[in-house]
Amino acid sequence: MSEFFAMGGYGFYVWSSMGMVLFLMLLEPIVLKIQHRSLLKNIQRQKRRQASKH
Amino acid sequence: MFDSFLALLKRDLLLALRRRSDIFTVLFFFIIVVSIFPLGISFEKAVLQKIAPGVVWVAALLASTLALERIFANDYADGTLEQMLLTPQPLSVLVFAKTLAHWLLTGLPLVLIAPLAGLQYHLSASTIGTLMLVLLIGTPILSMIGAIGAALTLGLRGGGILVSLLVLPLYIPVLVYGSGAIEAAMQGDVSLQPYYLLLLAFLLLALVFTPLATAASLRISVE
């Protein structure tokens, strides 16, 4: 298994490229999910505030 | 249609004469940028000749983006731009008049002052001639493409920096072939004809398409 990670001595280069790809392709959906949830929460809070106003 | 084109052109030139300092700010900016490079790099003749084409063109690019905001900003602020949109003449003709006036006030002076930069960088007389001719063809393209950016960022705070962010990538072909032409001229044995043909092709394309894009951008921004 370890020679797999060594990647013929170029492990650092291969895994930092793959790593960045993995990192960004996980980060983007997570950030969007968080944004989505906070937007919905704002809308609910706005709805409650309007409901209480009437 | 032609007389309103002339009227607008004359009006802009008249306005510029009444506020003469505006013309010189761009000119001095160009000269200063060209002059500080040797201080940063080196004074040797060989080095200066090597970097001259790139430096002069980058300075022309920066000077042009610096002055772009001025094309429509004043008219937008005092409401004359709206009246220009409401004229029977096609808007692209009036936009071309304004861009031409802007080029006469910022692009052309660069061409006239280029020999000064040429001497600073020990360029030969023929190279300076090529430099002026290439700048003469290139700077109108910068003004025309830049006018699109100016129209898009009309009335935005921090619009000046934003314009250069938008248009500098679009200037790259002019930069590549503009400085390439001067390098070729310095080598002497290389024919300059392909460079001139390419730059003139860009000029014609810009003449045909940019006024339409600028007019559309103005209608969007003035809304």
Partner: protein
């Protein structure tokens, strides 16, 4: 049956549809990328002509580079649709695409730098393809900067649509000027693309990974467009009826 495209052009009907499509695209993306990488790492020879093990970077490098270019064209397509039909949905799709396109360009530059270090020994040499990716990144940044500088959605949509179209019109000229800076002895414009001389297994892996990237981009863009819809339509009734769970 004539698909009524305009039925989905209204945000309220597109929002739930996008919600259902995101998990589908995301799982497809994961399956394709994992499958492609597995194939690329284990079913291929250790050495590709002179390049040793590190050639495996090209799977993600080529995939992200293609996505970067394709997403710009997709973005301009949405922008043009928006200008023609004046449908808000198209503009939202365009601005949702921009950020993913910028990320893909950054990825292709990052992986390209590592690829360059292994095969040419420098992190960055002004190779025409890498330079065009860099300029593509500047175009994306210009688009995003203009979008965020204008508060009024109407104007920012249409202004950035015009900018994207002007950008697309000038991109081929930029590409030409970088590939052939000296027109006297202009290098053959179409350097033989790396596809032809590549061994079939590697080619399969690369295409599968690219397909995976396509699915990933769809999923992420749809997620972002749902956020934009919520942001812009927060005052409408149908948004208020949404429960928090979905």
């Amino acid at each position: 049956m004539a698909i009524n495209w305009f039925k989905y052009s209204s945000p309220s009907s597109f929002y739930p549809l996008a919600g259902k499509m995101i998990p589908v695209f995301m799982t497809l993306a994961i399956v394709l990328i994992m499958g492609g990488l597995y194939w690329g790492f284990f079913e291929t020879p250790d050495v590709l002509s002179d390049q040793k093990q590190y050639y495996r970077i090209i799977y993600v490098h080529v995939a992200s580079a293609w996505m970067a270019m394709w997403l710009y064209v997709v973005m301009v397509a949405w922008a043009v649709l928006g200008l023609i039909f004046n449908t808000r949905m198209s503009y939202m799709m365009a601005s949702a695409t921009a950020i993913t396109g910028a990320i893909m360009t950054a990825l292709s530059l990052w992986t390209g730098a590592f690829w360059g270090q292994t095969s040419w020994g420098t992190w960055w040499d002004w190779d025409p393809r890498m330079t065009s990716q860099l300029i593509l990144l500047f175009l994306y940044i210009g688009y995003i900067a203009l979008q965020s500088a204008i508060e009024d959605n109407r104007r920012s949509d249409r202004a950035s649509a015009v900018l994207a179209m002007v950008g697309l019109a000038i991109v081929p000229v930029i590409y030409y000027s970088i590939n052939c800076p000296d027109p006297n002895e202009c290098a053959s414009l179409h350097q033989e693309s790396s596809l032809k001389r590549v061994e079939s297994n590697i080619l399969i892996a690369m295409l599968v990974v690219t397909a995976g990237f396509w699915m990933y981009c769809f999923a992420v863009i749809l997620m972002r467009v749902r956020n934009i819809i919520l942001l812009r339509e927060s005052h409408t009734q149908w948004v208020e009826r949404l429960e928090v769970k979905k």
